[in-house]
């Protein structure tokens, strides 16, 4: 498959995931489950952009690691702050006075 076709397919996947992600969020499931679903969709979309648009696999390892840390860290933070919001609130409340 040509690189252009791969980019086209990545774009199509991104569009479908964007619409699908909205569907997950509007479901009546538990808040943590919704956060996991939305975060998973976010992670897949970020990875598609990194691989096919940004071509991160060609980049210097330090650039690659830093961008991937940001992209992987964000969905994980969404889940953690949803599941442990009270802990974060008490920790930051103590720090902020």
């Amino acid at each position: 498959m040509s690189p252009e076709r791969k980019i086209d397919l990545a774009w199509l996947m991104l569009v479908l995931l964007s619409v699908g992600g909205a569907g997950i969020a509007r479901s009546d499931a538990n808040a943590v489950l919704v956060a996991v679903g939305v975060s998973l969709v976010m992670a897949i979309k970020l990875r598609l952009v990194c691989n096919y648009f940004l071509e991160l696999h060609e980049a210097h390892p330090r650039i690659r690691r830093a961008v991937l840390a940001f992209c992987h860290g964000m969905p994980i933070l969404v889940i953690l702050t949803t599941a442990f919001g009270d802990t974060l609130s008490s920790l930051t409340g103590a720090l902020l006075g």
Partner: protein, 208 residues
């Protein structure tokens, strides 16, 4: 040395040999200066996301009810516009690599038009929000929303200005299949700005 690329589609365009993996792996795409700027942008948004998570932890009810106050249609519209613009820019880069300058300009122009869709939707969304009373006094969720999305809008504006510059330089023949680091640097910035929106969108429009 500059490789002259003919504009007429009837003249055969020289196709560069595929880049060997060892020549591309581990390189700095675009330019070092652009990556310094990109990491500044990432740091800025990382701080804003930290503020968002802390505010959300302290005001769970406001953030639970928040997404229903915003237009999901507008949020999805921004996402589709930016993704499609990013796709056009990625295709433009590949067109440049195979030496097709006309196709590069066409893809870049398409990317610019889709990129303009973002501020266009923003105008309609702001009119809707203000009509519903969602201004700076509408609570912590809306304030966080304006703070993050306006910061992102500023970055989109820089990107659109950069895109105009890159389109002009492509049209003037400043880039070649061998040397198009300016085009690539812009593409990196645009894709990272796109990625940051992919993080903002679920935070405000989807997660309750």
């Amino acid at each position: 040395m500059t490789l002259a690329v003919p504009l007429s589609p009837t003249v055969p365009v020289p196709t560069p040999a595929p880049r060997p993996p060892q020549a591309t792996a581990g390189r700095i795409p675009g330019s070092k200066a652009m990556w310094v700027g990109i990491f500044c942008e990432i740091t800025e948004f990382a701080l804003l996301f930290a503020v968002f998570f802390i505010a959300r932890a302290h005001h769970p009810e406001a953030f639970q009810a928040g997404p229903e106050r915003l237009s999901l249609l507008a949020g999805t519209g921004y996402t589709l516009m930016l993704l499609t613009s990013g796709w056009c820019v990625a295709r433009a880069l590949h067109a440049m690599r195979r030496g097709d300058r006309r196709a590069t300009v066409r893809w870049m122009l398409a990317g610019f038009v889709f990129g303009l869709g973002y501020p266009a939707i923003k105008i309609f969304e702001l009119q809707r929000n203000f009509a519903l009373g969602l201004d700076g006094s509408a609570g912590v969720f809306i304030v966080s929303y304006y703070y993050l999305t306006f910061t992102h809008l500023v970055h989109v504006f820089w990107g659109l200005l950069g895109m105009m510059w890159v389109i002009a330089r492509t049209g003037l023949g400043a880039y070649t299949p061998e040397e198009h680091s300016g085009l690539e640097a812009f593409a990196c910035y645009w894709h990272v700005t796109d990625m940051i929106w992919l993080m903002i969108f679920p935070l405000f429009y989807l997660l309750g």
